[in-house]
Amino acid sequence: MTAFLLICAAISLFWTPGSAYDITITNRFLPPSADHWLGTDQFGRDIASMLMTGTQNSIVVAVVAVSIGLFIGVSLGLLAAAKRGWTEEIIMRFSDFSFAFPAILSAIMLTAILGPGGVNSILAIGLYNIPVFARLTRGSANSIWAREFVMAARASGKGRFRITFEHILPNVLSLIIVQATILFAIAILAEAALSYLGLGTQPPEPSWGRMLNEAQTLMFLDPMQAIYPGLAIAIAVFGLNLLGDGLRDVLDPRLSRKR
């Protein structure tokens, strides 16, 4: 399912059934047809094309936002577990209260000051991801640090940073990957919500969330327009969640077989 989405995004870079941008008022509210697979919207834009281009947008936002969270969060988590003491305390207190600022809340603050925009929503979602990754990484890294093979590595004269890269990171990586797919799904949801509120991706870039916003005003006229973009989001998220579950089973054999 996720692969299908990626393919959609990739194809839309080169080709879409129609144009996602061209406004042809005469073609308003066309029913699905060979030319317009899912019909057209109130400006005569091709819905299928908009959806496909919207995929790109969602993926870009999610990839960048998750990467920000992943790199900063995982590094902070590893650092906290390796250093312990006050370094850990500071990092964890910091992530404690970052939890009070979910993506949408920080996006609201950012847009209030900097104005709405795609970059701000990426930043807001990315910021929100940092403590999530930091906590997860630190928690599992701490449990790895307590294992005897780490003690053995220390007895071999290896330093904290070397142990972090040779032993800790490989052992927490599977968990992080699983978490990343789940956060990827959450990022798509958050981006859609922000765009829906008008705080995210700005016109004329097509985005699933904004399509829903526009469709809502036309709910009485053409309810189907409100169905497609939502369905696209749901499929994307559903696929990613399944992928996450699947990865968990593959990467963590301890779950399926104890010892």
């Binding site: 404690d96 993506a103 603050m109 950012l110 000051i113 859609a192 919500a193 749901a234 559903f238």
Partner: protein, 316 residues
């Protein structure tokens, strides 16, 4: 126990102060002069300077932060830039809608989660379990505002059972208001409830594998009795954790869903404030939302200690 609570309260206060500092820094110190934001980029320098002085923004940041904090404690939040009315008046009205909505949603999702989760766990790997878990997997994937739109299409437009949006105000009677909040809370509760249901199920199944459950069965307790007396309380611990985390998702969800239903709660207020560049309102609403999240997580921490006697003895 005393240390536990004392430590938690201290953390609560520290987190609250930390949050207020972050909000203050972001809103007032970071680039973007509020006066300039309010008047627009084309405003003349004099106008901006005049407004800066009028809003008291020329004073040192520490002093302004102090004023804000003391203002919060006395209920003096200043006046809205856009409407020229006290911020508190705007916030108060919105709170009276958002808090009931949030409470309704969280109650609904917990009820949903426990019944589905327990049923699924009791029928582990049977058809009912698999179906319910499939549905909940879908529930997790659906964006709440889309679900809200779908609910409007179904219940308001097609079936015409419930209002499509708006909020009559509490003066119009309790039931009318409840009816207006029903669809939004349903939209919010479905997603959160689906997540919690999955956690409940896996946590119950996990606890069923514990040694003390075997002890209970060895005493002669039936599967049912074991579930109620020994499994449930232990299984609630992870459920509680996730409920705490999900509350923040739920609260931000209300911001979005209120806009779908045009309900004049905090979410609508803050969005309007952004469009009006009414930073003082945004600032206070964001702090309010953050405070709610922090307080709920504090309550969750205390509940832990109630459920799990081990935590009272030694600190976490």
């Amino acid at each position: 126990m005393s240390v536990f609570i004392a430590k938690r309260v201290l953390t609560l206060l520290a987190t609250l102060i930390g949050a207020s500092i972050v909000i203050f820094l972001v809103m007032e110190i970071l680039p973007g002069d509020p006066a300039l934001v309010i008047l627009g980029v084309d405003a003349s320098d004099e106008a901006v300077r005049a407004l800066t002085i009028e809003l008291g923004l020329d004073r040192p940041p520490l002093e302004r932060y102090w004023d804000w904090m003391t203002g919060i404690l006395t209920g003096e939040l200043g006046n809205s830039y856009a409407y020229k009315v006290p911020v508190w008046e705007l916030v108060e009205g919105a709170l009276l809608i958002t808090i009931p909505l949030a409470l309704m949603s969280i109650t609904l999702s917990i009820v949903l989660a426990l019944s589905i989760g327990l049923y699924a766990a009791a029928n582990h790997n049977k058809a009912g379990d698999i179906t319910l878990m499939g549905i909940s997997q879908l529930g997790i994937s659906v964006p709440n505002f889309w679900l809200a739109i779908l609910l409007i299409i179904l219940f308001a437009i097609e079936l015409r059972w419930l209002p499509a949006g708006g909020f009559p105000g509490w003066k119009e009677g309790f039931w009318v208001c409840l009816k207006a909040l029903l669809l939004p809370s349903l939209a919010l509760a479905t997603v959160v409830g689906a997540i919690l249901a999955r956690i409940t199920r896996s946590s119950v199944l996990e606890v069923f594998r514990e040694d003390y459950v075997r002890t209970a069965r060895a005493k002669g307790l039936s599967q049912q009795a074991t579930l109620w007396r020994h499994v449930l309380r232990n299984a609630l611990i992870p459920v509680l954790t996730v409920t705490g985390i999900q509350f923040s998702a739920l609260l931000t969800g209300t911001v979005v869903v209120e806009n779908v239903f045009h309900i004049p709660g905090l979410g609508s207020l803050v969005l309007k404030a952004i469009n009006n560049r009414d930073t003082i309102v945004v600032e206070n609403v964001v702090l309010l939302l953050a405070t709610m999240i922090i307080v709920v997580n504090f309550v969750v921490d205390i509940l832990y200690a109630v459920i799990d006697p081990r935590l009272k003895a030694h600190d976490i």
